[in-house]
């Protein structure tokens, strides 16, 4: 018996009981739609995280000053001013696994242009920072070594700052004031988006490091930096670079055994890898929960197929008497079950995709529907049909033709 004929018979059987077929399918439709939507939401989240990982640059170690105790008050991590520009240079010079290092300072201030003003983060930066963070300018030029060396009063604007101060106008060459000091805008940075912590990375103004240390900071130690970004030469050398930095700084800061270091290092990629892993686990979990509904749908299929076999016992008897082999009958009912689940699967995929789109449109939650998840969902729905259709189909094929013919 050819497959086309089997398919035709199965389609006729499904058409005969349209409402029942639809209701049976509904379980699969909902299950597949849930799986597709959940996977879309989950992988959307991990996509965002991996974008954020890329946005901070690769193979990065962050060095921040340790806590200080000032008059009995412990100030918390990063409060001390223990890292200097000399540390940055030493890391670069003496750690063989380090590709680049960049010291930064950070302060919050009002930036004024004409009658517009905007409160933002002012970061002191050296040219290496933009290499490490893979952050080019979209117009103008970036901060150069000569700007740092000469403590030039120039600045780079993040997109958000540029938008808020200049609107559609071109900021390059214009003059802005930070803490009453006029700065020339030399460029605007490309859009970077959210940081893994959720802050807007484009809401920043960069000034040369030396300018920030000498002109903007009122610190009595103008050589200090707020944080050091260190880039290892490769991912494999990341741990080695971290320990090199640690031993160098211990030596420079005279940290001996038993003494608490006045700085700390953090491997950023590692932190984010953990975040990515947890979001992936989350999407797997969502998928697993959704596939429970698929199993429930499959049981519904089995139930209806059993009813159908009982109802059509006589038809099975006729077919057997006329010469249908057991496999013909088995295949016929299997085809029916798989057709049910596959049609349900396709509808579910469309519905799940639509659901994911609605979620991303109205809840501004990023979703990503991969070809992979569609393929998996499609074949999974087929597998549900095979799994739950097998028992009823075997029951049909195992009928005794005489009993089946006599069945009322």
């Amino acid at each position: 018996m050819d497959f086309l004929q089997t398919l035709k018979i199965a389609l006729r059987a499904l058409r005969t009981n349209k409402m029942r077929s639809f209701l049976t399918m509904l379980g699969i439709i909902i299950g597949i739609a849930a799986v597709i939507a959940m996977m879309a939401v989950g992988s959307g989240a991990s996509y965002v995280i991996s974008q954020q990982i890329a946005s901070i640059g690769s193979n990065i170690i962050l060095v921040i000053p340790g806590s200080t105790t000032s008059g009995g008050l412990r100030m918390g991590m990063g409060g001390a001013q223990t890292l200097t520009s000399d540390d940055v240079k030493a890391i670069m010079a003496e750690c063989p696994s380090v590709l680049r290092s960049a010291g930064t300072t950070r302060a919050t201030s009002q930036v004024v242009y004409g009658n517009m003003n905007w409160s933002t983060v002012i970061m002191g930066a050296s040219p290496e920072l933009f290499d490490i963070r893979e952050w080019p300018v979209s117009s103008g030029r970036s901060i150069g070594q000569q700007d740092v060396d000469g403590a030039a009063k120039v600045c780079l604007l993040g997109e958000t700052v540029a938008d808020n101060l200049f609107g559609d106008g071109d900021p390059v060459g214009k003059m802005v004031r930070i803490k009453q000091i006029p700065f020339t805008v030399i460029g605007v940075l490309e859009r970077k988006g959210q940081s893994p912590q959720g802050t807007d990375q484009d809401d920043t103004v960069f000034v040369p490091l030396r300018t920030a240390q000498v002109k903007l900071s009122r610190s009595s130690f103008p050589n200090t930096v707020g944080a050091v970004l260190v880039q290892a030469k490769s991912e494999e050398l990341l741990d080695k670079a971290e320990s090199e930095v640690n031993s160098l700084l211990n030596q420079r800061h005279r940290i001996t055994n038993g003494k608490e270091p006045d700085y700390s290092t953090r491997n950023l990629s590692e932190i984010l890898a953990v975040a990515e892993q947890s979001s992936r686990a989350m999407s797997l979990l969502l998928g697993a929960v959704a596939s429970i509904s698929l199993i429930v749908g499959g049981i519904g299929i089995m139930n209806i197929m059993l009813v159908s076999v009982t109802e059509r016992t006589r038809e099975i008897g006729i077919r057997m008497a006329i010469g249908a082999r057991r496999n013909d009958i088995l295949l016929q009912f299997m085809t029916e079950a798989v057709l049910l689940t596959m049609i349900g699967g396709v509808i579910g995929i469309c519905l799940g995709g639509a659901g994911a789109t609605v979620v991303s449109r109205f809840l501004s939650w990023p979703t990503l529907i991969s070809i992979e998840s569609i393929t998996i969902a499609f074949f999974f729905s087929g597998a549900v049909g095979i799994l739950f259709g097998l028992y009823p189909a075997r029951k049909a094929a195992g009928l005794n033709p005489i009993d089946a013919l006599r069945y009322e």
Binding site: M1, Q5, R319, I322, G323, A324, R325, R326, I402
Partner: protein, 226 residues
């Protein structure tokens, strides 16, 4: 003329709820090509059991059954299905057509399982419908046909694979007397064209159409008249 069916000392024992019931107690007869045989008997006489064995739907407990020279004993269900498909045509009391299926597709059904191509199937089915006088009704569903017409479709289905024997189980049981006569006329006609027919009935006037009458009682043949 060749022998189409040969039963040799056929026994059929049912065991139900621990009780042994012998439905056939050593039945032997043979049917030659072109015969029209009526199997008669009261209910419980073993005629239906005999028919099931003849139809390869039920294996005998003991004895030998040769169908068109083929020993049917010891075949597995799939081999029996193939034998039914190629050598036998069934006509049932309740017509047993597929609902919501056009007449021509009902007639095609044995050919579907025989693995014939669609075009070939259609041509053979149309020819069979013509033979039973239903040309032009091929697209009607069974609900759109009268009882007599439905039985004609069933006969066409039994004919279509050019079987060695047509087995008819009370073919007029659900029909009024006029339609019964028509159907029996059709059987007689087919038999005259050389088709072997074995028919189970308990009505003497229906059996009268057959050239040979075998009578069963209590699992044994008590009469075989020509």
């Amino acid at each position: 003329m060749g022998i189409v069916i040969s039963l040799n000392d056929i026994h059929r024992v049912f065991i139900m709820g621990g009780q042994r019931f012998e439905a056939l107690k050593g039945v032997s007869f043979s049917v030659a090509e072109g015969e029209f045989v009526a199997i008669m008997g009261a209910s419980g006489s073993g005629k239906s059991t005999c028919m099931n064995i003849l139809g390869c739907l039920d294996p005998p407990t003991a004895g030998e059954y040769l169908l068109d020279g083929l020993n049917v004993g010891g075949m597995d269900p799939d081999q029996l299905a193939a034998v039914r498909n190629r050598k036998l045509g069934f006509v049932f009391q309740g017509f047993n057509l597929l609902a919501r299926t056009p007449a021509v597709e009902n007639v095609e059904l044995p050919l579907v399982y025989a693995g014939l191509h669609a075009r070939e199937r259609r041509a053979m089915a149309m020819e069979a419908l013509q033979q039973v006088g239903l040309a032009g009704k091929e697209n009607n569903h069974s609900s759109q046909l009268s009882g007599g017409q439905q039985q004609r479709v069933a006969i066409a289905r039994a004919l279509v694979n050019k079987p060695a024997v047509i087995l008819a189980d009370e073919p007029t049981g659900n029909l009024d007397s006029t339609t019964s006569d028509e159907i029996m006329g059709l059987f007689t006609d087919l038999n005259r064209r050389g088709i072997t027919i074995i028919m189970v009935t308990h009505e003497a006037d229906v059996a009268a159409y057959a050239g040979r009458r075998i009578t069963f009682k209590d699992g044994e043949i008590i009469g075989d008249t020509r």
